[in-house]
Amino acid sequence: MEQAELRQWERKCVQEEVPQCVAACPLHVDARTFCSLMAQRRWDKAWQVLAKTLPLPGVLARLCDGPCKAACVRKEAGGSIEMDRLERFCAETAKPVAPPQPLPKRGKSVAVVGDGLTALCATWEMARRGFDVTLHCSVPGGLLPALPEGVLERELENLVKLGAAIEDGVDLTVEAIDELMDENDAVFVDGEFWTAHLSEVGEPDALTLGTQRVGLFAGPKGETSAVLLAAAGRRAANSVERFTQGVSMVTGRELEGPYETRLYTSLAKVESVPPVVVDGMYTEENGRDEAGRCLQCECMECVKHCEYLKHYKFYPKVYARQIYNNESIVMGTRQANSMINSCMLCGLCETLCPEDFSMADVCLEARRTMVESDTMPPSAHEFALRDMAFANGEKCVLARHAPGLDQSEYLFFPGCQLTASNPDSVQAAYADLRKQLGSVGLLLHCCGAPAEWSGRQALMDETVSDLRKEWEALGGPKIIAACPTCLKTLHEYLPDAEVVSHWAILRALGLPTDTARDCGSMAINDPCAARHNAMLREDVRALLEQVGVIVEEPEMTGETAQCCGYGGLLSEANPELGRAVAERRAAEMAEDWVTYCVMCRDMIAKTGKRAVHIYDLLYPQDVDAGARPSPGYSLRRENRSHLRERLLAELWQENGALAVEPYESIAVSFTAEASVLMEERRILKSDVQKVFLNMQKSRRRFVSRENGHFLTSFRPVVVTYWVEFSEQGEGYLVHNVWSHRMKVREVLS
């Protein structure tokens, strides 16, 4: 990732943008924090938030007209937060605070002229910045509306504490201004004053409040909003500061007044609650309740709906930077590498984000970079890629025209997981397609998605190239794909092929004869590969309706479907998080799930929730498909290779048996505990058989003094497997298995 790219990604994520109220407030008071503290009854702390920003806080908090209310997101959910009432209540209730510590004197003098609020605020702001400022007025704050006893006096005292001087009873004339211009580095006149006296200097500039007389600044005239008058005072102070420093009067002033913010806050689950309105002043309960209505605006749309984004505790803007920083660390950190490899690449965040932030784009690019620079941790995807290699190996690959035919109009492409998980239904589906369409060939092959997801583009290209050879050798027929991921991948990587879903075909041709009927209510799980394929989703729903399923849509469905946890190889790279994702999805609905990706089906089934693949309804094999457990890794491999052999034998009368590897003839069984460990630790039956074969040759093993079990190990390629077992007749009973990648080179000494 280049730095320019990082900035683009960071900019897309709006989580750190200011809330609407802060942006709309001409003084940018942190109303969100203020409300949070008020809701906790922490009146003093809340007052400090106001006093930090407001000039003459005791006065302004009582006069503020709350322009933030027009921008408040709560407006659409009952009514804006009554910020002005909360400010008044807080001003009455909280302990007053001392004015802020002013900056050191800078040796520049400013005269402020006028009886209005702008003059007072300009004086305050300039005194804060270390200017020698004198307020020239007839009555300080003389034009202000009535305030409770002592309030103005206290703030005028604070003004003096800040270092300002007040000269009252002054007769304000044009000549007086000339004198002040001579004696000071800059002069600011209140809007009320210059209307009457200074029309020759022209309208003050909207951005700088400067006039035709350089060094003389003037406030806006006819302004009635208290907070806008105060903001003008602050703007004047900013201008005077720039002027006396001799720096640009204009650059970087976009955020001085109210501005637009990109922060997006969803009102989706927010209940409408009306504001607390009473006659007179709020009570403590009123204040707490009204402040409690504040939504504490933030975005977090993607994080709210993704277990993966939630898991790493932040949000995409932070993640993008973490991933960027990770690239400059030699091997990457465990945390960041794991985060990069845990994204399901499912596209949900991009769909929900108001600015289309795509974690998938960031993470897939990062994976590719890691693979290219040889810093991808081998353990992340190796097992999955070995499985793909097996599915594309001689034991599993099958490419044939329909029995008795020498050309194919169609080609059935079930994908590598359906054959692994539900081989009998694949056989039935193929038979059904041949019955309906006649010249339908068969291609058993993986589409290559695991290679793409793991960032291995070269391997992906190689896989697709092999696939293309098989497809072309069969005459380039129309491909009927059953798996949504295969559909998506084939569309992208075989653009010259016509690819159609099995569901579209069935919708056109009618349901198979053995279809189950009237299955009751089921929750539909759209696989993430179907996110942008509305036609596919519709075809499936139409079929389910024909089958008699009452389809219940989860809240996150269709375009906003949540991934089951297998996407992007999450469950392979980060099994714990994958399981958490699957559990969250499974628990979303009370009904049994129906889906059209067999990995979704198995991920949900593994959590203990009942789930069926649509093939279970169309080509039923089991009595109770919903309860069928997800096949383990070893069984998946056996299913694929047995399916190939069976089809070759039954349909093409060929003996597909390949030379039996010596290790395959070793008889081995597993205790219940051992079976569970095999799955968890991703150790295959064939791995164990290889260990035993090696032991038969080497005769090397340990024995346990306690229980008489034996222990042996073998390293076929890059992983060493350890097997604890007992001898059982001709074969072995396995009690325990573990593995490691580290290699024993030699014993020293």
């Binding site: 990457g332 093993r701 024995v703 593995s739 490691h740 080179r745 020293l748």
Partner: protein, 71 residues
């Protein structure tokens, strides 16, 4: 390179069945991703077969492997 002693590397009741010998602690060279380590591991004094017990393989060894893969 100095030898690392690891408490988890104990024989845990295993002995060499081939040689009928108790296992003794010997320095063993381990390798992963171009990094080498000398660790004392239970070894058969006669045939040199090295034991990597379960808790070591799944514990410290796994941690080191990840450390070398990432940072």
């Amino acid at each position: 390179m100095s030898v690392i002693k690891v408490p988890e590397a104990d024989a845990a009741g295993w002995k060499c069945a081939t040689c009928d010998e108790e296992l003794v602690s010997r320095p063993v060279e381990l390798e992963y991703l171009d990094s080498l380590f000398n660790v004392e591991l239970p070894t058969c004094p006669k045939c040199g077969m090295v034991l990597i017990p379960e808790n070591l393989a799944l514990g410290k060894m796994n941690q080191v492997e990840h450390l070398l893969e990432d940072k």
